[in-house]
């Protein structure tokens, strides 16, 4: 059995009457890249702060690296908070080595490691620059490096991608993959599904403080039915009795004349049903297809499917 680096069971946290985290339980195996997904205000940051024992849960228990409090193992953990900030007057290398030293590294080793990381992740020329002179993205990279410089067993990154341009997002993905390859466990929170899709071996979906999903990417995709998208001029009623079809929704844009009479359908099919069969039926019935599309549901779709209503409701509060 694989050893878990982190286990939460029945963790609750309330702020006055507002329940930030409700009955949260999950476990993270060693070496995983684990994504915390959820809309804004879902309780991701509160959960992370409780994991780090910066906040105390009202009830429930947390076991981290075999201890009941992260404070006992804080030197083995690396943490990047949601809101980014550094000492403005310090030099990039100094800040990385300072945080590494706070995590117990020796002065000389910490300094060497700082330069090494800056070179490795494209900031070699800025090692001697003061943080205030760096751009926001560069500053954020420095901060990520300062969180992981001491080679922690467990890395917790809260929204690490926000504010980074696509190139630097890739650099960060590389860093996360490198750490995972080195046997470090990485937890990161995000609301950008593409990163989670590319990186995560497992993910946790939270909304309104509650766990909605916990599992692998494939398990997540299986939650919503596979879809076939059809476009044609005319009707498709003849195909609708094929086996394996769960439902059909017409998604034609409001005014048909705009699309030259082309209509648009989305057909949900059972997990093991064959889309080939639908295509075959179309040919048999002489339906003039202009588009036939069979796609895996994206994590984005799963996300919207699971929390869509909640997230919208939240934004109106």
């Amino acid at each position: 059995m694989q050893e878990n680096v982190l286990e939460l069971s029945k963790v609750c946290k309330k702020y006055g009457a507002f329940t930030a985290v409700d009955d949260m339980s999950f476990a993270i195996p060693k070496g995983a890249i684990y994504g915390f997904l959820g809309p804004n205000g879902a309780g991701k940051t509160t959960t992370i702060r409780m994991i780090l024992d910066i906040l105390k849960p009202d009830s429930g228990s947390i076991k981290i690296l075999g201890e009941t409090s992260a404070l006992n193992v804080r030197k083995r953990i690396g943490y990047l908070p949601e809101e980014k900030g550094l000492y403005k007057k310090m030099k990039a290398w100094a800040i990385i080595s300072y945080f590494a030293m706070l995590k117990g590294m020796e002065k000389k080793a910490a300094r060497q490691r700082a330069y090494e990381l800056l070179e490795q992740y494209g900031l070699k020329d800025f090692a001697e620059a003061r943080v205030e002179s760096l751009s926001k993205g560069m500053g954020q990279k420095v901060q990520v490096l300062s969180a992981v410089a001491h080679r922690p067993e467990l890395v917790i990154l809260d929204e690490p991608f926000s504010g980074l341009d696509p190139v630097n997002q890739e650099v960060l993905e590389q860093l996360i993959n490198d750490m995972s390859a080195a046997g470090q466990t990485v937890i990161f929170s995000t609301h950008i599904m593409q990163h989670a899709e590319r990186l995560c071996s497992r993910m946790l979906l939270i909304a309104k403080g509650r766990k909605i999903f916990d599992g692998t990417l494939d398990q997540a995709r299986a939650i919503i039915p596979r879809r076939v998208i059809l476009e044609c001029q005319g009707d498709i009623a003849a195909v609708l009795h094929t086996d394996g079809i769960i439902g059909v929704t017409e998604k034609t844009p409001g005014d048909i004349s705009d699309a030259n009479g082309t209509r648009h359908w989305e057909i949900q099919i059972q997990e093991h049903a064959s889309p080939q069969l639908i295509l075959q039926r179309c040919f048999e019935n002489g339906i003039p297809l202009t588009r036939f599309d069979y796609t895996q549901p994206s994590l984005h779709d799963v996300f919207v499917h699971l929390v869509g209503n909640d997230a919208r409701e939240h934004s109106f509060r």
Binding site: I54, R74, L86
Partner: protein
């Protein structure tokens, strides 16, 4: 402990790099130097003033001119005494007192005891030339030559076409363009402004005021003496004139009433010196010296030093905590160290910078005294010696550290509750006002160090460090020393404990600063 050091070192290193720190360090010596240099420069560069004296009565002109010359002599005398004090071979008064040539010492002590009498003596003896002959053997060989100050008030001739015996009003009307600066006098071929016109009408004696007779209104139309000048701030000339005319007048009165003016003068110069003795001093040492007086007042200096340094430190502590809070560095820090370690590291780091500032001040003060010798710095040097040699240092060290711990704890808690300096200001206000109290009361307490106000304030922990420092030289009762120290130490422990609680919860707080109820809730919070 290692983490506390690490945090303290970073705080210190960062603090030392800020402009504010260096401004703090340099400001004090710069003010000190500025004060002395400016004083000297201003004294030397005081412009020569030209005045016109018109005496229609013919009785006072001589006296006024004598007075102005005397005023000049007085300045020469003062400068000369300062020059001698600075440049004599041995500046230790005890040793020189035993020197055979006591005359010059007599002069110095006369000047400090009774300047008027000394001035008479000085003039009788022949003034500067005599004094120079007297002093030269006692001066250091490398002493610079004495430069007498320039004359400040020089009489100017009446411009042509003005009749000195004319109606006073007409004379003033004619002189008005010069008085207002519209026209300039030509004195020795140099254009210069007319500073003042002194006009003594012929029948000036009719305006003399005597006891028992109701005073008449004085205005320019009466026969009274007139002093015309557009400069209202330099009152040396009118004062000198008023004094001499009055003393001439009094001499005339003595003569009129059959009193020998010389006798009066001698009577006026008779004096009985009072020896100031201190009953608490050892036998044979009771005479109160300057050093003793300084010693009595030194605590005030320490209180002030403490105040300035604490103000600087707590402000830095506050703004620095708020910086960490507002950009959320605090979260990273708390994921690495405990709140207690963070708090202690900060207290230690900023505390060391505060001490650095004080040491830098003392060092520049010392250097200043060494390299800028003058009468005033000699005085400062004495003050410095008294401060360092007295038993006040241990008091200062203890009360400084205690005061720092107490106030830093409070300000750290305030900082942890606020996200911006602006928010902090409202919470800081009451603390700032409390901090002002010892500053306002420090002179009163120095005058009555064991009085009721001093004793009561000593027992209020927020004031204890300042008040007890203030009283340190006056040997306060043992009960006060021990009792207030116990109360103070307990309060520090309590404050640090409570602010630790607030700090732990406050640092992660976002949003509005808390209401009082919330702070109370934080204080009661357990873990």
């Amino acid at each position: 402990m290692k983490m506390i050091w690490l945090i303290a070192l970073r705080e210190y290193a960062e603090n030392v790099k800020t402009k504010g720190f260096w401004i703090g360090i340099l400001l004090f010596p710069m003010i000190l130097i500025a004060v002395f240099v400016f004083q000297t420069v201003l004294a030397e560069s005081a412009p020569t003033r030209h005045y016109i004296l018109i005496d229609q009565s013919g009785r006072y002109a001589e006296a006024v001119e004598l007075a102005i010359r005397q005023d000049h002599q007085r300045r020469i005398l003062q400068e000369f005494v300062a020059y001698v004090v600075e440049n004599r071979k041995d500046s230790n008064p005890e040793v020189t007192a035993a020197n055979a040539d006591a005359q010059i010492d007599q002069l110095i002590s006369d000047v400090s005891a009774d300047e008027v009498a000394a001035l008479d003596q000085w003039l009788e003896n022949g003034g500067l030339n005599f004094a120079l002959t007297l002093a030269t053997p006692n001066l250091r060989e490398d002493a610079p030559p004495f430069v007498a100050p320039r004359e400040q008030f020089i009489p100017a001739p009446l411009p042509e076409g003005i009749d000195p015996q004319d109606e006073p009003q007409r004379i003033i009307e004619q002189l008005r363009p010069w008085l207002t600066g519209a026209r300039q006098l030509v004195v020795d071929g140099v254009n210069s402004n007319l500073f003042a016109v002194i006009l003594i009408p012929a029948r000036v004696d009719e305006t003399i005021q005597r006891p028992g007779i109701a005073p008449m209104a004085v205005n320019q139309n009466s026969n009274g003496m007139q002093y015309w000048a557009s400069n209202l701030t330099d009152v040396r000339l009118p004062n000198a004139i008023e004094n001499t005319i009055n003393s001439t007048l009094r001499n005339n009165e003595f003569a009129r009433r059959g009193v020998d003016a010389q006798i009066v003068r001698e009577v006026q110069r008779t004096r009985l010196p009072v020896s100031r003795l201190d009953p608490t001093a050892e036998q044979g040492q009771e005479a109160v010296s300057v050093a003793d007086t300084i010693r009595q007042w030194a605590p005030v200096g320490f209180v002030y030093l403490m105040f300035v340094s604490l103000m600087q430190s707590v402000q830095y502590l506050l703004s620095n905590t708020i910086e960490e809070k507002s950009n959320r560095i605090i979260e990273v820090l708390l994921a690495s160290v405990t709140p207690l370690e963070l708090m202690m590291g900060k207290l230690l780091g900023i505390g060391i910078s505060g001490i650095t500032t004080i040491l830098a001040w003392l060092a520049t003060f010392l250097l200043f005294i060494m390299f800028y010798p003058s009468t005033q710095t000699e005085m400062l040097g004495q003050l410095f010696n008294v401060m360092l040699s007295s038993d006040l240092i241990p008091y200062f060290v203890f009360y400084y550290l205690a005061g720092y711990a107490l106030y830093a704890g409070i300000f750290l808690a305030i900082g942890s509750l606020c996200n911006t300096l602006k928010e902090a200001q409202s919470l800081m206000m009451p603390m700032m006002m409390i901090l002002m109290v010892p500053l306002v009361t420090m002179t009163f307490i120095a005058q009555d160090p064991n009085g009721p106000m001093a004793r009561i304030m000593s027992w209020i922990p927020l004031f204890t460090p300042f008040t007890m420092m203030n009283r340190a030289a006056a040997e306060p009762p043992m009960l006060d020393i021990v009792g207030t120290t116990i109360v103070l130490v307990l309060s520090i422990a309590l404050v640090l404990w409570l602010s630790g609680k607030i700090f732990r919860q406050g640092v992660l707080r976002t949003g509005q600063p808390p209401r009082v109820v919330e702070i109370v809730r934080m204080l009661r919070h357990r873990h």
